[in-house]
């Protein structure tokens, strides 16, 4: 490899053109130093680690297809009369935004495909973010040192929903216009400044001539720009922290076990991008999404039945539908609680999710680094919270589609609404409790498995006639996986009186913290894992029945 013929100034000039490019780049960007720690960077393997990749790839697909769509879309609310190839709308007045979306769908070759890929990718993007976030939540991957990355990811989800909303509002069709009207009504409910916000947002009275253009710059520039920045920061932190891993043979808090970035992960992750893109392309080929031509252009005095937002807005849609219509009128003003409360619950629930890592670490007093993931069963309270949140989401999703539930299942819409109203408060509590019990049950099973082995299904008859089932002992690897987790003790406030018998002053905050900590790690929240002594005692004897 080394070329000795030339007199090297610093090192020999490589003959390989690829290496020459690398040399050139290294002299300017320090490529080799960067590559040294990253080229063979180890990534652990687990199917759930692909979920984040789905988010990344669908985002890339959204950028690619979105750029294409901007080449044809006219973000203008100027009115035109349609006389394109779609006969049912011939002669109908519509905004240029709607007309150009019709043009993309019916006249640009491949335009419909790209539009559908874009919309499907958006749905998949947000779904993948939520599922990815669930993975991170349930396995405790958000713990130190990854709390900031949890916030980055959370912000991406939050911005993603707004990007989705501004995006599907752009075609200015009857369905999306109804959604924008809903947003305007919600903005109007804001105390004191509602009407001002609405006027500034729409450039006057709804719908005005401005919102498509404004949403356009927010949708294609502002939000994706912020998201691209956050996404890069998110990935840099993944590299910097190194990926988490599940406990297992050879895996510790101090190492990361897996296959290297080059070649395995480059091939797998790179290939996976094409798989995600291919699957979305296939979906876009066979499944129509947002057929704006069947809905017609937006008019504020027209509406179609079964109006539904994209699925990720189902949460807020459910809130707004089941909330009682409370209005407080006094001193010449109206406080529109029936709309404003749902409008506020949505961000409050989101914020609760965002700050959860900090709350958990404060309650449990856990300030140490964690790189090994939790098995959800070993953290029953956290897992219970996660399931409670999901329950809340699905309950409200039912509320958001109450008309569809009513028509498809022949139910009374009043009954559904009342069901959702009650479930909003009750169902999360019930599912929290059930989940916690299931987790504790699984912990007991793990304990039994460690101490008594796996049920083999083999029945053996002993010489004196007794039948026993043979329990097969676990391998050391399995024993390790089932016992590797730490079982923290709840915070202790110490004795109530000090050594002189004087009552110690404990701040109320510390008392709350200790009580919550007992909730997390008290005797009702975890089953003591088997100790080595228990194990030795049982396994040293003969025949365990």
């Amino acid at each position: 490899m080394s070329t000795t013929t030339e007199a090297p100034t610093r090192r020999g000039r490589p003959t390989n053109p690829g290496e020459r490019v690398a040399e050139w780049t290294d002299g300017r960007l320090g490529l080799y130093k960067l590559a040294k720690s990253n080229l063979r960077k180890v990534f652990p393997d687990h199917w759930s680690f692909m979920l984040g990749e789905v988010c990344l790839y669908s985002f890339v697909i959204l950028i690619l297809t979105g750029v294409y769509l901007t080449l044809f879309f006219h973000p203008s609310m100027n009115e035109v009369v349609y006389n394109g190839p779609y006969a049912p709308l011939d002669g109908v007045r519509m905004s240029e935004a709607y007309a150009s979306t019709m043009h993309i769908s019916f006249e640009v070759r491949g335009g419909l495909l790209v539009r559908q890929i874009h919309h499907w990718a958006a749905l998949i993007f947000i779904a993948a973010m939520i599922v990815h976030m669930m993975r991170v939540f349930f396995t405790g991957a958000f713990r130190k040192p990854r709390e900031l990355n949890w916030l980055f990811g959370w912000t991406l989800l939050f911005l993603g929903m707004f990007t989705g909303f501004t995006g599907y509002s752009l075609p200015d069709d009857l369905l999306s216009g109804t959604g924008v009207r809903f947003m305007e009504g919600a903005v109007l409910s804001t105390p004191i400044v509602g009407t001002y916000l609405s006027m500034f947002l729409f450039g006057g009275e709804f719908p005005g001539h401005d919102f498509v253009g404004r949403f356009y710059s927010v949708h294609i520039l502002l939000l994706p720009g912020l998201m691209a920045g956050l996404l890069v920061a998110h990935l840099i932190l993944v590299f910097f922290h190194k990926h988490t891993q599940f406990p297992g043979a050879g895996k510790t808090e101090k190492n990361v076990v897996g296959t290297p970035l080059l070649p395995i992960y480059t091939a797998k992750a790179g290939g996976f991008f094409f798989l995600v893109f291919g699957v979305i392309a296939a979906i876009a080929a066979i499944a129509t999404i947002n057929p704006i031509w069947t809905m017609g252009p937006y008019r504020p005095d027209q509406v179609s039945t079964g109006a539904q937002p994209d699925w990720y807005m189902g949460f807020s849609e459910g809130l707004i539908r089941v909330m009682p219509g409370w209005e407080i009128r006094a001193w010449g003003h109206t406080l529109v609680l029936g709309v404003f409360i749902p409008l506020m619950i949505f961000p409050l629930v989101m914020v609760a999710i965002a700050v959860y890592p900090f709350i958990e670490s404060w309650v449990t007093g856990d300030k140490s680094e964690h790189h090994l993931l939790d098995r959800p069963r070993n953290r029953p309270v956290r897992t219970g919270f996660g399931v409670a949140w999901l329950t809340l989401y699905f309950v409200l999703l039912i509320g958001g589609g109450n008309d569809l539930w009513a028509t498809h299942f022949h139910l009374s819409i009043n009954a559904i609404t009342w069901f959702v109203r009650v479930s909003f408060f009750v169902a999360p509590v019930i599912t929290f409790w059930i989940t916690k019990r299931i987790c504790l049950g699984l912990q007991r099973r793990d304990r039994d498995k460690v101490l008594h082995g796996r049920e083999s299904g083999i029945i053996k008859r002993l010489p004196h006639g007794e039948f026993i089932e043979v329990h097969e002992p676990l391998s050391q690897q399995q024993l390790h996986v089932l016992t590797a987790h730490a079982q923290p003790q709840p915070l202790d406030l110490g004795p109530e009186v000090d050594e002189n018998g004087v009552e110690r002053k404990v701040s109320p905050v510390a008392k709350v913290q200790a009580r919550l900590s007992r909730g997390f790690y008290g005797e009702n929240s975890q089953i003591p894992k088997p100790t080595v002594e228990e194990y030795e005692e049982i396994t040293s004897g003969h025949g365990h029945h």
Binding site: K41, R93, S198, T305, V322, H480
Partner: protein
């Protein structure tokens, strides 16, 4: 999973706790200890050259399939006219171009993806390796070093000493964003009383939104729902959307004896009542009418109003009744408004009394 447990079936039923040690393993008192990385297990492709060759062919085949997909994509782009509709089971009538482009693109993309993943899984070295993690936080020496640098920098700036500079700078930095805020003022006009009024005025004729003809009492029959808009409002007008968003009306005819609300009866004309079509919840147009009960339902969030009782809210998230428009007939026998709505239409807001 079954592999894992299966490989241990020949271990005696009572697993010793591992002490005594096999081979080179040192005495391990803890049976739960981390056993370390398991030995690498070879795949068929690692030991069987034929299997490796087969995998190689599969990967190359997938990449070739992708190339064919791209060629097919280009061919479909050229062949199918953009407006050609074909019937394909079970998808129904679909655009030939969209269907073929999407599927060929899917083949072109998944071919690359599946090829790369299969290559990685079957042919690339798959031995797991371990990387060390390093402490993220700095050691004491580094921390002290940075602290000193910071102190030196802060001292050299005189930031802490020259309070006047510090305070005026803070003031300037706090104030300058105000310019950015003020410049947003012209995003829209002030609300003033814009939301309180609609186009309706005394004497304005009710125009049927479907036929564009003035509505006459005899056009409105019991059981039908008619939509109306003010005379003179044309689709081609610049502010049509803003005006119709407030002025849209729905007209029904009730038997006067069915009207329970006295004011509603007073404001009606021979049992014909006119209500705002814009839902008082968040502003959807109401469009579902139940003739038997005289209930109307907003299709967006299912607020239900009783049109025979002052459009009172029966169910759903709306907070107040639909505003009613006073109507009568003019000398030509056409329905007219006797004024504007007496309260703002549509969603409630802070200034609404």
């Amino acid at each position: 999973m079954s592999d894992e447990t299966g490989s241990h079936t020949d271990v005696p039923e009572n697993l010793p706790s591992g002490r005594g040690g096999h081979g080179d393993e040192v005495a391990k008192p803890n049976p739960f200890a981390n056993p370390g990385l398991p030995p690498h297990e070879h795949r068929r492709q690692d030991i069987d050259d034929k299997a490796a060759k087969h995998s190689e062919r599969v990967v190359a085949g997938l990449f070739t399939l992708s190339m064919l997909g791209t060629i097919a994509f280009i061919a479909c782009f050229v062949i199918f006219p953009v407006d050609k509709i074909v019937y394909i089971f079970p998808f129904g009538h679909v655009s030939a171009l969209n269907f073929s482009l999407g599927l060929t693109l899917a083949v072109a993309l998944t071919g690359i993806g599946a090829g790369a993943v299969h290559w990685a899984r079957t042919l690339m070295a798959d031995e797991e390796i371990a990387d060390e993690r390093h402490r993220i936080d700095a050691d004491d020496e580094l921390r002290e070093n940075v602290r000193q640098q910071w102190i030196t920098g802060a001292k050299e700036s005189g930031f802490g000493r020259r309070k006047l500079i510090r305070n005026t700078m803070m003031g300037a930095l706090t104030m300058v964003p105000l310019a950015g805020l003020v410049i947003l003022r012209d995003l829209g006009p002030l609300p003033e009383k814009k939301l309180d009024h609609t186009l309706w005025a005394k004497g304005k004729q009710l125009i049927n939104s479907n036929t564009n003809q003035p509505l006459r009492p005899e056009d409105v029959v019991v059981g039908s729902l008619t939509f109306a808009q003010p005379d003179g409002l044309e689709e081609s007008q610049d502010d049509f959307q803003q005006q119709i968003a407030k002025a849209a009306l729905m007209i029904i005819r009730l038997k006067p004896e069915d009207i329970k609300d006295k004011r509603e009866l007073d404001w009606s004309h021979q049992g014909i009542v006119a209500f705002s079509k814009i839902c008082t919840h968040v502003g959807c147009p109401i469009s579902l009418y139940e003739q038997q009960t005289h209930h109307v339902l907003c299709p967006c969030h299912q607020s239900t109003f009783d049109l025979s009782d002052g459009a009172r809210v029966l169910f759903g998230p709306a907070g107040h009744p639909l505003p009613q428009l006073r109507i009568s007939v003019n000398s030509q026998g056409n329905l007219i408004a006797l004024g504007d709505f007496e309260e703002p239409v549509g969603p409630a807001f802070w200034e609404r009394s």
